[in-house]
Amino acid sequence: MLPGEHLLSVLIFFPAMGALALLLLRGDDHKFIRIIALIVSLAEFLFSLLVIPKVPIGVPGYHLEEFAKWISQPPINYHLGVDGISLFLVILTTFLTPISVLASWKSIEHRVKEFFVMLLMLEVGVVGVFLSLDLFLFFLFWEVMLIPMALLIGIWGHERRVYAAVKFILYTMAGSIFMLIGIIWLYNATGTFDLPAIRVLLHTPASQGGLELSSSTEMLLFLAFFVAFAIKVPLFPLHTWLPDAHVEAPTAGSVMLAGVLLKMGTYGMIRFCLPLFPGASHRAAGWVAALAIIGIIYGALVAMVQPNLKKLVAYSSVSHLGFVVLGIFAFHNISMQGAVYQMLAHGISTGALFLLVGMLYDRRHTFEISEYGGLATPMPKLAAFFLFVALSSLGLPMLNGFVGEFLVLLGTYQQHWQWASWAALGVILSACYLLWSYQRVFFGEITREENRTLPDASAREKWILVTMAVVTLWMGIGATFITSRTAAAAQNVIDQVEPQRPYEAAAPNGATPQAKRDSSSAAKAISSGRLGIR
């Protein structure tokens, strides 16, 4: 099977086929199941790399688009496409899945087959979310992704796993409902679920056949989408499902949760909230930024005093994702690129932190920091990796965390220096909680006898960690490989959200080439009846 022009479909359905194959397997040979899962996820990763050359540098808009009618009435289409932003989020997902498979190699002992099926189905949902350009399709994948994640937590989790799984699913569903309402409202108003078409209609004056929303309607629609995304991010104060979900989830679950699921929220803000509702985004920006800054500082402070290592990492995610949201709502192309970069960097470094915490748990079956201490003596290699990852997480230059954080703050500062100044406090606090917890876990004399004989990193663990470390370093030094590809997409989002939107700013008949092309293609689509606008 060679992925050609249907590369994106392949990316979505290949793991599903892998999952199906696993389901059809008879017998219970755990090793075989693991190897199949690994091969499938690795192949998926390689497929995703093939997308990179298909997204040309400097060209905004969607590439590798696929369009097929799915349901004629209401007109729901199978519409996929990738741009610079979703490209790397997809690669992040396909990269973290084989890592998660490897991380679960030894620690998942019962219902092995089901576990890997769920992991692959999760990949299907997440990749689908990042590639969908049809609101209905997007919503479908958004919900599809929930089930395997909740089951991963609920079946293979720790003591309070059911509580955490239910909390996770209800929290997310509560947000999804608003989004569903928003989607249906938009369908009623426009007669289509197609994201590019809706965007063009919303950016076209009513006199030219577009859809102009009243300011309160726009705000309500913005909020409907925003709340769903904010819960996913999670934005303060909607974050309390996260610590529970993380602490109870198995390592692979935490890696996927922190690594990619949270990014679905920030991705949604970039893809839907800003381009579709620029006016409301502007009016809400101050409030959103305030919540993001509170999240940065609050998340860091609460992380600092956690006695539970995994909860500490979970709260640190609240803090880091605050930077992402701030970067998005500063409406500056530098901070927007920083936000995208921070999404990727956080996926790698927090993913790695959860892997390391999981490795400690595999040895001692506890997350309590007080149960550890002096671990650098029995396990120097693990200690070195942990420090490396902690440094990347606290934003040391030349490692991945710095680039995103720096760009977010730099860009935000250009627009609102007060926001950036407050948010920059997070830079100090992240050093506090990471170095303090590192000291308590790894430095000093060994305080508990059972820790004295703990084994250092095994070959499998070393492979996982070396891979993560190499990516961390590469992202810290070779940032331009990614930023050059995200630049056009980020700029595109900024152009759409800026008050002087192209069609308003330009000459008498009111369109820059970009907007013209968009609206003309929309007009063509409308006339061809493809979208079925009433």
Binding site: M304, V305, I334, G338, M398, L410, I428, W436
Partner: protein
């Protein structure tokens, strides 16, 4: 073949130590010490040689600024941060000090650390430090400088906490990193502000931009962009260079092995703040208020740290406070516009302070690990080389001619006196405190010498086997002693028969900028190699005053420590409150712990986490869930399965419908069409 091969490949200079670090870090664990030595000393030594070649090429090409972009590191929008290196006169001084002194200390460390565990780890960290420090001084833009800036902080963290089994060591490492981060917070904001004003963070692009040329001087009272930017950068400098109020990490950093204290916490890393201020001198020149703050903070730190140094008994702690104090001098120099004097003091200080620490290490080595000066004494006979070299360094730091410190300190004090940066009165006050600090310095340094090397041994000579250190430690000591003696002659003032070569050398860096207001810097702005007899006379007077002050300090130290030691105890008793305050470093650490650390932890735990997060937000979430359950539970009872109760519900429902139809306030109109 390029004309300047080494300059074209300038990146090799930092890369060599990085390779050394990586090789030792990855493979060194299994190697014998000799190979680790070879890699560590080889890489830094080679880097030093490359530096010499690069400097030679720089001189040969007529001393013009060399600038080269190697690759783009980050790019977004109109922002670009490149891996760009540059070399000018200031870089030459810094890079020579870093590689030269760094190499000597590497050699010394092979002897000093020979019996320690984690040998490869130590040298891997030390080489890593060299890499980042070289990036810092070679960088051609603020962002790359920040890479080195944070990187040396990391190396410092690793090396302070080298003995990680000791809680005090890992505490000190963590403290150093976090306090530095507080400064870096300011540094980052400073960068953001500069980017907003100039749309670039490249040194040359900012300093030579037309925006800056046309920038009005932000006179005192007017807090403009450049004043803020200068102050924010200075905040970073305060963290890195241990100035008030962020100096608290440096004394604790003495937990690290002594070669680390010499290299990182005396000679190189802590001077990075001074370097940044000097590098940004064009910005500061437009912001006299920022310069005044720099001068005052520097002077206050110099004095404040010197007073603490008076009473410390740990030999390394004395040197640590002395470092803080000397860094204060450098900032004082920068603050009054005498940037070349500040950089000159940075260089001489690197020589004599590295020497002091290395010699102190040799003493500690000789004493079998003892650091308390109260348990030393009379070591001069058994450790002759250590004694002679340490005495040289002490004479240098105290400021006795013709040792290096005399020249650098003298020119700083003179510049402070002549400064018009905050009016003449401020200049006199800065001079006065500077002179007083010189007095204190000579006192505590000679106190150190007398307590350690003179008098009778105050330890059990049968238990402690005092021995001179091996050659690998002595050779660096002697080399640095020579430098401490002659290093100052580079800037010997005119009356001394010299031509102040150093200031003339740095003139292209500090002289060409746009210096609208600096009073004292007028001497730089119109650089002349000759001075009038009047100026010579002034210089003589100031030199004499300074030397006399220093001699008084030495005499007092001699009297209190050797002649009448009981008087010292008596003095300590009669001034008990002052003495204990000094001994406890003005309780600043305790103040921070009580006012910031503890409240923050308490609020985070009890208010933010337990009250707000668990009880408040999550309580509300669980409350909604519980409420939903309760409602469902209540409604559940209607589904009893009992036909009669269903019939009752049907009747009730029918009555409600009818009531709505008839009594709904619909303005007399019938609600349902079928009703008349």
């Amino acid at each position: 073949m390029p004309t300047d091969p080494m300059l074209e490949y300038l990146w090799i200079i930092p890369l060599l130590p990085l390779l050394g670090s990586a090789v030792n870090g990855l493979f060194g664990a299994k190697w014998p010490n000799k190979i680790v030595n070879g890699v560590a000393i080889g890489s830094t030594g080679l880097s030093f040689l490359c530096t010499l070649e690069a400097v030679r090429e720089f001189f040969e090409s007529g001393q013009v600024l060399f600038h080269k972009e190697f690759f783009t590191w980050i790019a977004a929008g109109n922002f670009r941060a490149g891996f760009d290196l540059q070399m000018d006169q200031l870089t030459v001084v810094m890079v020579l000090v870093v590689t030269g002194v760094g190499w000597l200390i590497h050699i010394y460390a092979t002897g000093y650390m020979a019996h320690e565990g984690g040998y490869y780890r130590f040298f891997s960290y030390l080489n890593l430090f060299m890499f980042f420090m070289l990036i810092l001084v070679l960088a051609a833009n603020y962002v790359l400088l920040f890479v080195g800036w944070e990187g040396v902080g990391l190396a410092s963290y690793l090396l302070i906490g080298f003995y990680f089994l000791k809680k005090s060591a890992s505490d000190a490492g963590k403290k150093a990193f976090i306090v530095n981060r507080i400064g870096d917070f300011g540094f980052m904001l400073g960068m953001f502000l500069l980017f907003r004003a100039f749309h670039t963070l490249d040194f040359q692009a900012i300093f030579t931009s037309s925006t800056l040329q046309g920038w009005p001087v932000e006179l005192s009272g007017h807090l403009g962009t450049l004043t803020f930017a200068g102050l924010l950068l200075f905040m970073g400098a305060c963290g890195k260079s241990a100035q008030l109020p962020l100096y608290v990490w440096l004394p604790d950093a003495m937990e690290g092995p002594t070669p680390v204290s010499a290299l990182i916490h005396a000679a190189t890393m802590v001077t990075a703040g001074v370097y940044v201020v000097a590098r940004s001198h064009v910005l500061f020149a437009h912001a006299p208020t920022a310069m005044l703050v720099v001068a005052i903070v520097g002077c206050a730190t110099a004095f404040f740290a010197a007073t603490i140094g008076l009473v410390q008994t740990d030999i390394k702690k004395v040197l640590a406070y002395s470092t803080v104090s000397q860094l204060g001098y450098m900032f004082l120099a920068c603050g009054v516009g005498a940037f070349s004097a500040g950089i000159f003091h940075l260089m001489t200080h690197a020589f004599f302070k590295a020497l002091l620490f290395l010699a102190a290490g040799s003493v500690i080595h000789a004493m079998g690990g003892e650091q308390d000066m109260n348990r030393m004494g009379g070591l001069s006979k058994k450790t002759r080389w250590t004694y002679v070299t340490m005495l040289t360094a002490t004479l240098a730091i105290a400021g006795i001619p013709p040792f290096a410190g005399f020249f650098s300190k003298d020119s700083i004090l003179l510049s402070a006196f002549e400064s018009e940066i905050g009016g003449h009165t401020t200049g006199y006050a800065l001079y006065g405190f500077g002179l007083l600090t010189a007095l204190l310095t000579s006192f505590y340094m000679f106190r150190l010498i007398f307590l350690t090397f003179q008098g009778k041994p105050r330890f059990d000579e049968h238990k402690v086997h005092v021995h001179e250190s091996p050659n690998s430690m002595l050779v660096p000591l002697i080399t640095l002693a020579v430098l401490s003696l002659i290093g100052g002659w580079l800037a010997s003032p005119t009356f001394w028969g010299g031509t102040d070569y150093f200031a003339r050398f740095l003139f292209p860096v500090f002289g060409t900028g746009h210096h609208p207001v600096i009073g004292a810097a007028s001497q730089i702005a119109t650089f002349s190699t000759t001075s009038t007899p009047e100026e010579q006379y002034t210089e003589w007077v100031f030199a004499t005053i300074a030397v006399c002050t220093v001699l008084i300090g030495i005499a007092v130290a001699y009297w209190l420590c050797l002649k009448r030691p009981e008087k010292a105890d008596g003095l300590a008793k009669s001034l008990k409150p002052a003495y204990t305050t000094l001994l406890n470093k003005y309780y600043l650490d305790e103040f921070y712990a009580a006012m910031i650390v503890k409240p923050l932890l308490w609020i985070s735990t009890n208010v933010l986490w337990k009250a707000a997060d668990v009880t408040g937000i999550d309580g509300a979430v669980n409350g909604i869930a519980a409420g939903t359950t309760a409602i469902g539970d209540g409604v559940r009872h209607t589904q009893s399965g009992n036909t009669r109760s269903y019939a009752v519900w049907v009747v009730i429902g029918a009555m409600v419908v009818i009531a709505v139809i008839f009594f709904w306030p619909s303005g007399g109109k019938p609600v349902l069409g079928m009703l008349p």
